[in-house]
């Protein structure tokens, strides 16, 4: 073991620390991005033409805004957003500071995914709810989010996995985490075993998310 991964053994505590940082960045930003993304995704679905609160102007603005936010490369977003980060967190470097760009990097993506998931909810069921006198908010919570839940869980998995990918880039603003170890130690010092183990841990996280998510989606689906 010591011969195979010599540098990792001596850096065990750093690895534990980095894994916790990655988890913190992923799930810390995921929770807030989920709220923002769900809200934006629902808003897009209900305001789009033919939606229960169809509003051409609102939809067009939201649609363009989502595309705009999605088209900023993450590594640039890290820099561009720093004034906002400073305002919200009080600093522009460190693990907590990275949450701000992570949230803005992922929630527009998530909103689109949620929008697509909700568009798959049978329009006939929505119409049935309207005919039963349901209000727009009742339709959102009792029909769209409930009927769309299995798909929402699936797109959430995809999103969390993308988010894990983004956290590795946040090392550029001193966020720490597994990506940071792999680059600033493994890559910079030619200690390949560090890079390898960091990658492995990331893969394990990805698989764990995938498996738990699939299980959850199956559990709530009644096809």
């Amino acid at each position: 073991m010591a011969a195979l991964i010599p540098n990792v053994i001596s850096m065990k505590s750093e690895f534990i620390q980095a894994t916790l940082e990655t988890l913190y960045m992923t799930f810390g930003s995921a929770i807030i991005a989920a709220v923002l993304g769900l809200a934006l995704g629902v808003w897009l679905v209900v305001t789009q033409p033919g939606g229960i609160l169809a509003d051409r102007v609102t939809y067009s603005i939201l649609d363009k805004l989502t595309n705009l936010l999605r088209s900023v490369p993450f590594i640039i977003l890290l820099a561009v957003i720093s004034p906002l980060t400073n305002f919200l967190v009080g600093t522009t470097v460190g693990t907590t500071a990275s949450l701000v760009p992570l949230i803005f990097g992922i929630f527009p993506f998530y909103a689109r995914q949620v929008q697509n998931a909700l568009l798959d909810v049978d329009h006939g069921v929505v119409e049935a709810a309207e005919s039963m006198g349901s209000s727009p908010s009742e339709i959102i919570f009792r029909v769209y989010l409930k009927e769309g839940l299995p798909d929402i869980i699936r797109v959430s998995i995809v999103t969390v996995i993308s988010l894990i990918g983004l956290t590795t880039m946040a090392g550029a603003i001193g966020s720490g985490g597994l990506g940071d170890i792999a680059i600033s130690i493994g890559y910079a010092r030619f200690e390949n075993d560090i890079t390898l183990v960091a990658t492995l841990i990331i893969l394990i996280l990805v698989f764990a998310v995938q498996i738990i998510g699939d299980w959850l989606a199956k559990k709530v689906e009644h096809n």
Binding site: G124, E130, S131, M132, G133, S135, E138, K146, V220, H222
Partner: protein, 356 residues
């Protein structure tokens, strides 16, 4: 408005704009439906039936005209009041539109979620309705496990949960086999009789109208082309489309097609004629034949005959080749018309047209 009219649509237009295309889905339709009626709307695909009934609960806002249900002019209602009114106008659909994330019981409970009643009372009411439609054993099942007929029964139970005055059925039996269709129609009839529920029923099958409706409107290209008591409309159809529905449902259309395809009309002898008879009430096939053969010395060779019951009245359809003295035909035909028998000589030119 008469107190007895539960639905009054006045001068309804619905126009859709698809890009630069304009579709007049409903044009200048007046529709009055009495409380307790079972009112059928029949028409081919694209006639505007769904659009018209979606106007009744304002799921479709009409471009023009007024919608009055249960004495309330719906267009004047605030959103919350309109939602309240909608609870009294239930709807069932061709594809059932059940929520797959909820159990059968959960689906039936859905309309009650926004009412201020306890969970226990809500469940009890839903269970009672499931009993009414014969599905109490399936309360905890998810809709994906049910057959089409069972799904429609759940949809009916759900539709009844809000104690509606009106039930709109948009092709509710179109996805079901004939036997299941029959049982669903029987259930609707029972609800009409037991609860006094007014039913508006859309279909493209005349059989459905004949089996449970009292009144019918025939729709074509956004307009109602004929309407009235079912017996009257289908025994004495006026509009070509109505004739078409009648002849299709009684197989007359298929028979004429088959016969004109197999018999060379031009090749009939000079003293022969292919004739189509339509008779109502007391006139019978045997009566016509015996009268023709005795009084006019005609030979009647029947190629097709069918008797249909519409609202308790017998309606007969017959296609036959008549051989004999041609000079006797005219008085014979004139005589039969006076008896409530309509006849028509089928020629190569008019072979496929109806009797209108």
């Amino acid at each position: 408005m008469t107190a007895n009219n539960i639905i009054e649509l006045k001068n309804i237009d619905v126009t859709f704009h698809n890009g630069d295309q304009t579709v007049k889905a409903v044009q200048a339709v007046d529709l009055t439906i009495e409380k307790g009626d079972i009112y059928g709307i029949i028409g081919y695909s694209g006639a505007g039936k769904s659009t018209l009934v979606r106007v009744i609960n304002l799921l479709q806002t009409p471009t023009n005209g007024t919608v009055t249900v249960n004495g309330q002019q719906l267009q004047q209602l605030a959103p919350a009041a309109l939602r309240q009114a909608r609870q009294k106008i239930s709807m069932i659909f061709q594809h059932f539109n059940l929520m797959k994330s909820r159990t059968v019981l959960g689906n039936v409970e859905y309309p009650l979620l926004s009412q201020k009643i306890s969970q226990a009372a809500r469940q009890q009411k839903a269970l009672q309705l499931l009993k009414l439609v014969g599905l109490a054993d399936y309360a905890q099942t998810y809709p994906a496990r049910l057959s089409g007929g069972q799904k429609q029964r759940v949809a009916i139970a759900r539709a009844l949960a809000s104690d509606p005055e009106v039930l709109i059925s948009d092709e509710a039996t179109s996805a079901l086999d004939p036997k299941t269709t029959k049982s669903i129609l029987a259930l609707l009839k029972k609800l009409n009789q037991d609860l006094g529920l007014t039913i508006v029923l859309i279909t493209h099958e005349m059989q459905v109208i004949k089996s449970i409706c009292h009144n019918v409107a025939v729709m074509d290209a956004g307009q109602i082309v004929e309407r009235g008591r079912v017996a009257q409309v289908f025994t004495a159809p006026q509009a070509p489309l109505t004739v078409d529905f009648v002849e299709t449902s009684t197989n007359v259309k298929a028979a004429i097609e088959r016969i004109t395809n197999t018999i060379d009309l031009a090749g009939l002898a000079a003293n022969q004629e292919l004739m189509y008879f339509n008779f109502i009430g007391n006139a019978t096939k045997e009566g016509i034949i015996s009268q023709y053969s005795q009084q006019y010395q005609l030979d009647v060779n029947i190629l097709f005959a069918n008797i249909d019951q519409i609202d308790g009245e017998n309606v007969g359809y017959m296609i036959a080749i008549i051989t004999g003295d041609l000079a006797a035909f005219n008085p014979a035909i004139a005589k039969r018309v006076a008896d409530g028998v309509k006849t028509k000589i089928i020629t190569t030119e008019n072979g496929l047209e109806g009797l209108a």
